[in-house]
């Protein structure tokens, strides 16, 4: 199983009597863009939460770069280089965009003394470059909470890049963003994958977007893995179409 950056095997997560994830197995190869689709309530975000350590899983194993991470906490997993963005965008609302960026630096191996350090000029430079990359440079000194929803999404994406993750889990990156901006975002996602070498694992409802982005797609329905395969195959898969149209 070399080359698989993230390996999920037989993961089950129950909430009381509800089985949100039922024996899910999937893998994300290093450097790839993988998609995760499925109707509302099919367990996509639950699976993300399980992977990043937000809640314990009931069964199964999750490996990141060969290391079992299913028992680790969110912060530890984040510091290993696996980061997630939130469906309900989360930025630090009462801080400026630049501050949001400055605080998003990688935290790996940070000692006690690092708490009291100043922001390095290089951090500022990188923060401004990334804000320019997502088109928020002019608004860098505004409070993040004063940005529109779409802009907050872009800021959250820039913050994730600031953290230099190896694997980025994006929960509906284009939801709430206007169509013109979506094209720009797709292009930026592709560039972060190609230029910065960040593996992307994306939940998305917008089919054209995910078909354009992902090489390989997994489809969940009712907590189970319904189908998987290359984007073209998934698009024509009758089971996937049925699931979305409610025939299932």
């Amino acid at each position: 199983m070399t080359g698989q950056q993230l390996l999920v095997e037989g993961v089950t997560k129950r909430f009381g009597g509800v089985v949100a994830n039922d024996n899910i197995s999937l893998s994300v190869p290093e450097g790839s863009i993988v998609g995760l689709i499925g109707p509302n309530g099919s367990g996509k975000t639950t699976l993300f939460n399980s992977i990043v350590g937000y809640h314990p899983i009931d069964q199964g194993s999750i490996r990141f770069e060969g290391r079992e991470i299913s028992g680790l906490r969110v912060t530890e997993i984040a510091r290993m280089g696996m980061l997630r963005t939130f469906q309900q965008t989360r930025v630090y609302a009462k801080m400026t965009c630049v501050e949001n960026m400055q605080i998003s630096v990688p935290r790996k191996g940070e000692g006690f003394g690092a708490m009291f350090s100043k922001s390095h000029p290089k951090i500022m430079e990188k923060a401004e470059n990334l804000l320019a990359f997502v088109g928020l440079y002019a608004k860098r000194n505004l409070l993040a909470g004063d940005l529109s929803f779409g802009q907050q999404k872009l800021l959250e994406f820039a913050m994730a890049l600031m953290n230099e993750p190896k694997l980025l889990l994006l929960d509906e990156p284009t939801a709430g963003i206007n169509p013109t901006l979506i094209n720009g975002l797709i292009e930026r996602l592709k560039r972060s994958n190609a230029d910065l070498g960040i593996t992307l694992f994306i939940i998305e409802h917008n089919m054209p977007v995910i078909m354009d982005l992902a090489e390989h797609i997994y489809c969940l329905a009712h907590g189970q893995l319904l189908a998987e395969g290359p984007a073209d195959e998934i698009r024509d898969d009758q089971r996937v179409i049925d699931a979305y149209l409610g025939a299932n």
Binding site: V52, R73, V74, T75, A78, R79, L83, R84, F86, R90, V91, Y92, A93, K94, M95, T96, V98, E99, Q102, I103, S104, P106, R107, K108, E110, F112, A114, M115, F116, S117, K118, S119, P121, M124, E125, E128, N129, A132, Y137, A138, K139, R140, N141, L142, L143, D146, M159, N163
Partner: protein
């Protein structure tokens, strides 16, 4: 003219006024000393409650701990405990050297004890992930419990409290002496916080305030930051408490040391009035609040608590964001929150925050 010069002028004016105050208003030295304690209260509370967003009702615990630790060390250093309890007259026989050594040793020990207790309490409530209202209620319980424990512990005088030694006359004026102690302590605290807020620490605790889940998801060691902020707050409160016990002279367990209903609530209100989560807000809030409180006490005697209650309601209802917070909403550009259409020409364009 430029902002650096303007800041230097403001700081200089405050410094000169502060140094001269006890001699300009000699009748009010004790009140002025308490003014600095109030500023210190508001600043230490704001570190945890404002900048980090952990509304604590129990910070007063550390103030009381400092008071008792200092008084106990002062007593044990110079007196036989039995003699101390039975002969009140023995209390005023301290030489200046003895008084000072006991006081400063006590304040130092207070700092250590408070940080240790703060770390233990922090492990119990912060490291366990207690947040929001639960954290607030838990800390409220701490304050009440501390007062009860002190009231029932004979070693520290139980319900009848402790008496600090009489201030040696040869050291000059008591009010002025303590005024400068609190002034220096508050200045150190202010500069420490200014330095902390300007760096990574300030950003991290602001991030915890705005969205702790997000901060964790980004890999920030939130527990470490929360514990550190809590312990810094505890340290300064305890050192101030040590000196405050000697200023007041009589340490009552619930009315002076663990005075949750007065100091404990005031520190929150002062920070809110001035604008929580800002560096200057607590300072401004403390000065306005304390002067108002003294005025009420002087001119509305008999009704001062009613007037105080009305003021508290007024602050919370009409001024939730505080003076500095209101100014920031009113004139965001003054605080640097503006759109800057310049393009990122080169990496040379660094620019401050």
């Amino acid at each position: 003219m430029n902002s650096a010069e303007r800041n230097a002028t403001i700081y200089g004016a405050i410094l000169i006024a502060s140094l001269a105050a006890p001699w300009v208003l000699p009748a009010y030295q004790t009140q002025l000393a308490f003014l600095w304690i109030m500023v210190l209260f508001a600043l230490t509370w704001d570190l945890v409650g404002g900048q980090m967003g952990y509304t604590s009702f129990g910070n007063i615990v550390f103030f009381g701990i400092g008071m008792y630790v200092t008084a106990v060390i002062q007593r044990n250093l110079h007196f036989d405990i039995k003699e101390y309890v039975h002969v009140a007259g023995a209390v005023d026989t301290l030489q200046p050297g003895e008084y000072l050594s006991g006081l400063f040793l006590g304040m130092g020990a207070s700092a250590i004890v408070a940080v240790i207790i703060g770390a233990v309490l922090g492990l119990c409530i912060l490291a366990m992930g207690m947040r929001g209202q639960y954290f607030g209620i838990c800390t409220l319980g701490l304050g009440v419990a501390a007062g009860e424990i002190a009231s029932g512990w004979d070693y520290i005088g139980a319900g009848s409290g402790m008496v600090a030694p009489v201030f040696p006359e040869r050291l000059g004026e008591r009010g002025a002496f303590f005024y400068y102690i609190f002034f220096i302590l508050t200045v150190i605290l202010f500069l420490t916080l200014k330095w902390l807020y300007a760096g990574r620490f300030g950003l991290a605790i602001n991030a915890i305030r705005d969205d702790e889940d997000k901060a964790e998801a980004m890999g920030i060691r939130t527990t470490r930051y929360k514990m550190t902020a809590w312990c810094i707050s505890a340290l300064f409160l305890a050192v101030a408490g040590g000196a405050a016990g000697h200023l007041v002279g009589f340490i009552d367990p619930t009315e002076v040391a663990f005075a949750g209903a007065t100091f404990g609530v005031w520190m929150i209100l002062m920070a809110i009035l001035g604008g929580k989560g800002t560096l200057w807000g607590p300072v401004v809030g403390a000065v306005i609040f304390y002067i108002t409180q003294e005025v009420f006490w002087t001119y509305l005697f008999g009704w001062q608590r009613v007037a105080m209650g009305a003021l508290i309601v007024g602050i919370v209802v009409f001024f939730p964001q505080g003076i500095m917070g209101w100014m920031r909403e009113r004139w965001p550009e003054r605080f640097g929150h503006r759109v800057e259409e310049s393009t990122l020409s080169s990496s040379a364009e660094g620019g401050g925050p």
